[in-house]
Amino acid sequence: MYQWTRREDERLLTGKGRYVADIEVPDRLDAVFVRSKVGHGALRAVDCRAAREVLGVVGAWSAADLMDMPPCAHSAATLQDLPPVPHTVLAKLSSDEAVVGREWPALVKERVRYAGEAVAVVLGEDRYRAEDGAAEVTFQVDPLPAMVTPSAAAADSTLLFEGLSNIALRGEAGKPIEDKVWQDAAAVVEARYRQNLLMPTPMECRTILAVPEGDRLTVWSGHQMPHRLRRELAALLGWSQEQVRVVVPDTGGAFGSKSASFPEFVMVAFLAVKLRRPVRWIEDRLESMLVATRGRGQDQHARLAADADGRLLAYELHIDADVGAYPHLGVGLPMQTAWMATGAYCTPQVHATVRSILTNTMLTYPYRGAGRPEAVIALERSMDTMARRLGIDPAELRRRNFIPPESFPYTTPTGRTYDSGEYARALDLALETVEYDMWRAEQARRRTDPTAKPLGIGLSCYVERSGGEPGGLHEFGSIEVGTDGTITARCGAASSGQSHETVFPPLVAKTLGVDEQRVRLIEGDTDEQPQGLGSFASRTAQVTGAMLQHASQLVIEEAKQRAANLWDLPLEQVEWSDGTVHAAQDGSAAMDISELVKATGPLRVEDRFETGMEFPFGTHVAVAEVDPELGTVQLLKVVTVDDCGVVLNPDIVHAQAFGSALQGIGQALYEAIPYGDNGVPILANGLLDYLLPTYTELPPIEAKDTCTPSPSSPLGAKGAGESGCIGLPAAVVNAVVDALQPADCDLLQMPLTPDVVWRAARAPKLEEAR
């Protein structure tokens, strides 16, 4: 039989993968949502009557229809009103205070607050029929002024929620810096940075299938946090968690965008219970482009001070975050940027302030990198500007300010305690790999040749955070040994392409000393694994990996104890090796773990395991050639050096680093959601208008790594998979700035489209400005 590289490969390469849309359930209905084409306005006169007459339509509801509906019997009796979408108070990344009075309804009741917000839902025997029905729903939205930028909304001239400010949260990290520090510094650089709103764009959009069975509901969803989804759906139904089972089958990518409950999920679960029929919603791409969560979305102001030798003195970052129309997890997410504002340097004073501002865009939410790219871009762009100001090579400026390896654990002025780092080593490897001196020489040559296209070299030295926030740094799981010799590991994680089935069984097998073919992994099923946190914040290798190693060790301890009892030996005389217990003194008594289980009964250990917060890091370098006439940017070479501690599977980590690098380039050069003044995204040609990188845009990327183990986890592994999105955008923009040398760096705001670059190429140069 053919040996596939990953355990997932056989089914995914032969058409046998099973995603939610592939699951066939008898009597299933398809949900289609009727959506507002206006970004902000008062909703009037939703009329679903004509829709209900359409052949194959089973029902059509607006929020008003559901409020008027008499309570039904059965356990849905508690559902007289349509529940709001659950928000999270996950590890300080959101707050109840921000949400009070600003609940996100499952269907619009009175006010539309973002384009695409659902005003009605239609269920049909299939999607064609449900769409036929949706086309017959009529409604009116009386437009209100739409606010699509934080600055437009911060003035509170139009309120999204009557009586409440559009500013949902204010926060800070670090202490305010005295004016004197800035006045006395040899050099101060100041700039504004726009973190463009992005679409995470997993290739599979969001999915949910809810199947009622007796007094239980089974929910299939492409999701990152099945236990959270179970908890939130149970709460909105007024049910116990045991009555809801969430199963995550194959999931077509997530990148942070599939970890919440959404209005559509609430409706599907609610209607499946109400009608006692399976209901599903398979989001289509055009819907996703309107109403899937956004990433990034910050307007930043940064100020950096250094002495004449280039030693950093102070750094200040203010963030006005566009958190979208309702406060959800994204309202606290900019605090991640504030906490990570210090970066890789021993800057003595750092102060970051945040205003999370509600606007008429779709909600902002974690997207691969989630708060860390925004911190890295602001700081690393400022570092390059400082290097130019002082006339110091940007690599040298960074080297002079790195937190030295002997300083760890290092507590930053913004309140993070970094676990370990050898920042200079990653920088050195990146410079060597890219052939830094050769490119600097080529750049100098071109600057004397008026016919040559300008060339720039951009650096970015990043530090990120993996594992999660305090209170969310643990995972649950179990290991079960069968009498047939099979070993089953279970955990609360859920894969959306990260190869968990390939990575974790060998880890368990190695710890137990057994053949890896004996070990299988079950995850993404709340009936199999009663408690869990899920896969987000680059946490699965770090936290779930450590948990499974820990559980494997518990299996060994339990096996030794059982053998000692069986053989009537003191525990210390029983040893474990290669999946076998044996007596230390007398080699004659020996048993494979499966024989031991046959003799002593089923063996299943369950536990919870917690790691510390960890801080992966690295250096990314981009070499860019700019065509000032066309405004195009060609990346001649990209090097990423990442350090995520001990790597569990180098091929898989490398593959994720490579893929995330291209997503990072997407933010720097291509991707953005343009909004019209009416609050509607300008994406008339669908996905063609959202410039996802294709193979044509792929530059030569060399991905390397260094290894600085983390002391915060017994595996020494830090999180991986987000590095390219975090480190690379700043390197790419820095390279273009370095090529064009505009006097006003604020001109080069992401994405660096030909229009942006062409204008910057015509602006006064740094030399002319002096």
Binding site: W4, L13, D22, Y128, D284, R285, G497, L687, T694, L698
Partner: protein, 160 residues
Amino acid sequence: MKITLTVNGEEFPLDVEPRRILADVLREDCGLTGTHLGCEHGVCGACTVLVDGEAVRACLMLAVQCDGGSVRTVEGLTGSDGEPSALQRAFSTEHALQCGFCTPGFLMVAAGALEADSTLADHPERVDHIVGSNICRCTGYEPIRRAIMRAAQEQQQATT
């Protein structure tokens, strides 16, 4: 409307509404869910299948347009002996997939090119065009390019 599709060599007599797209009919009427819908407006290429040997976006074609035609999907790539094709093996070897959702589309556009062009391995620029025709959000494409090239080279070696 009554039509007949031959999918992966098997004949499917079907009664379909004229408005139904080929991808939905393959997935729902034929039960072949390996073909995935990523955008439903012809941009991403996840739903690519071969119709009479030619790669098409199955979201942009009506099933009735394929009446009497021959369709190949990802389910038809595995050999009759159950062994994976060179292309499927190459995708696995090169880590040309992560979440696997776009993968059937890349496999089919590549399979069509490999069958139509026995000299594909000698023309890297043609492989570049194949990879550039679809969208993947996980891999960064280079592993997909290497996989198609590997399969092309293997095919060429087998025939020379």
